[in-house]
């Protein structure tokens, strides 16, 4: 820890200075919330990538192994996880594109930051809903 107690080194030993609260009291803002969301969705997608490899390996192993994995995916828990991964994917994708634009040093004015931020949130919701609706349609699901 840096500069805990007194800095003169001549007085009697003192307790370390307290650290002012940081995440415990700092206001969540679109900036920090979207940033941590990008990180959390990245972590979720890393787990999803493991699932992708499992799924591909099952397909390579033959129709019976593939059926086992498909049953897990088609269960309620599997579909819930898949929906979560879809939303995480679109949020990370849109957030990632926002980051790539920032890397070209564009869009740093506060107005642009907030407009692009809300656009990322809206686009992720719309794209996830569209992906799932179209998938269900293609799969032949009728309401």
């Amino acid at each position: 820890m840096i500069n805990n107690g007194t800095t003169d080194g001549n007085s009697t030993p003192t307790r370390p200075r307290p650290l002012s609260p940081n995440i415990q009291i700092y206001r969540p803002q679109l900036t920090s919330v979207l940033s941590i969301a990008n990180r959390v969705t990245g972590l979720i997608l890393s787990l999803g990538a493991v699932g992708l490899v499992v799924w591909l390996s099952a397909a390579a192993a033959g129709p019976q192994t593939y059926r086992v994995v498909q049953d897990v995916i088609e269960s309620w828990a599997g579909q819930f996880a898949l929906f979560g991964c879809t939303f995480a994917f679109f949020l990370h994708l849109c957030g990632g594109i926002r980051h790539l634009v920032w890397d070209t040093v564009h869009g740093f004015e506060l107005r642009s930051i907030y407009i692009s931020g809300w656009t990322v949130v809206a686009a992720s919701i719309v794209l996830s809903a569209a992906a799932w609706t179209i998938s269900l349609f293609v799969a032949g699901w009728h309401p």
Binding site: I2, N3, N4, T7, T14, R15, P16, R17, P18, L19, S20, P21, N22, I23, Q24, I25, Y26, R27, P28, Q29, L30, T31, S32, S35, I36, R39, H99, W102, D103, T104, V105, F108, E109, L110, R111, I113, Y114, I115, W118
Partner: protein, 279 residues
């Protein structure tokens, strides 16, 4: 919803802090305990409650949260006026830094209602019903609202914030065109209040090695100065996975700057310069 400038306060006050325990992952000496509630003034018509972080190094106790009631009609419009009112009329031990009272010195930087700003330019009416005043986030506290800025100033010294010249001194001035001078706009105005650095989560977790937005903005100020002749050496000193690349463009810094500056953009410019010299 759409913030156009950093002085706008968020109207969505439904979430003032992340939903985690108040003393989450806090070391024993930093635990905030319940403090005393000071009585409201008897004849005041409009009273505002302030919860203020207190710490007395001489008492041997932990930090605490004291609740004060301020007669808003009896004091000026800014939060700094309220702090002076409390110090003059209620508790004279309340300690805080202050100097210019007009937003140019950076002394009164503190965390009000969850965001870092200058107390002298934050209106009391912009704070919520239960206003909270904490010192700058993630700083070692000397007393009450006074943070120890030794480390962040040492990080500032580490980037060598002075003109580096290799060619011999000119007879008169070092010349600079208006376009070259305009490159400094938005960077030279920094008052080193450290609101941005104190609000950066990356600096919270890696502040010992990550330089932080204030220092990096000043680093860009010297990089972009046409009179400076050490651009390569400056970029060498910055290119480090921790000194520079702990910045993940969270952008709390740009959101909170009381002078309306853009540290996030400055850091993006530094990263771009480093890539450009590679390719």
């Amino acid at each position: 919803m759409i913030i156009e400038s950093s002085d706008q306060v968020s109207r969505l006050s439904w979430l003032k802090r992340f939903p985690i325990p108040r003393n989450f992952k806090v070391t024993p000496e930093s635990r905030i305990e319940r403090g005393r509630t000071w009585p409201a003034p008897a004849d005041a018509k409009r009273v505002k409650a302030f919860e203020i972080y207190r710490y007395d190094p001489d008492s041997g106790g932990n930090p605490r949260l004291d609740k004060f009631h301020v007669d808003v009609d009896d004091c000026g419009p800014m939060v700094l006026d309220a702090l002076f009112w409390i110090k003059n009329k209620v508790d004279s031990t309340l300690t805080f830094r202050r100097s210019c009272r007009e937003g140019v010195c950076g002394s009164c930087a503190m965390n009000m209602d969850g965001t870092n700003w200058l107390a002298c330019t934050r209106f009391i009416s912009d704070l919520g019903t239960n206003a909270t005043i904490y010192p700058l986030a993630n700083m070692r506290i000397i007393k009450d609202l006074v943070p120890d800025l030794t480390h962040v100033f040492a990080q500032y010294a580490a980037i060598e914030p002075w003109l580096y010249s290799k060619t011999p001194e000119p007879e008169k001035e070092r010349l600079q065109s208006p376009e070259e001078r305009s490159q400094l706009d938005g960077y030279y105005e920094c008052i080193l209040c450290f609101c941005c650095t104190s609000g950066c989560p990356s600096h919270w977790w890696n502040g010992n090695r990550f330089l932080g937005p204030a220092v990096l903005l000043q680093a860009w100020r010297w990089l972009t100065d046409s009179r400076d002749e050490a651009k390569g050496e400056r970029l060498d000193a910055l290119e480090d996975p921790f000194r520079l690349y702990r910045c993940h463009t969270i952008l709390n810094c740009t959101r909170t700057c009381p002078k309306g500056l853009n540290p996030g953009k400055a850091i993006a410019e530094i990263k771009k310069a480093i890539v450009e010299r590679e390719k």
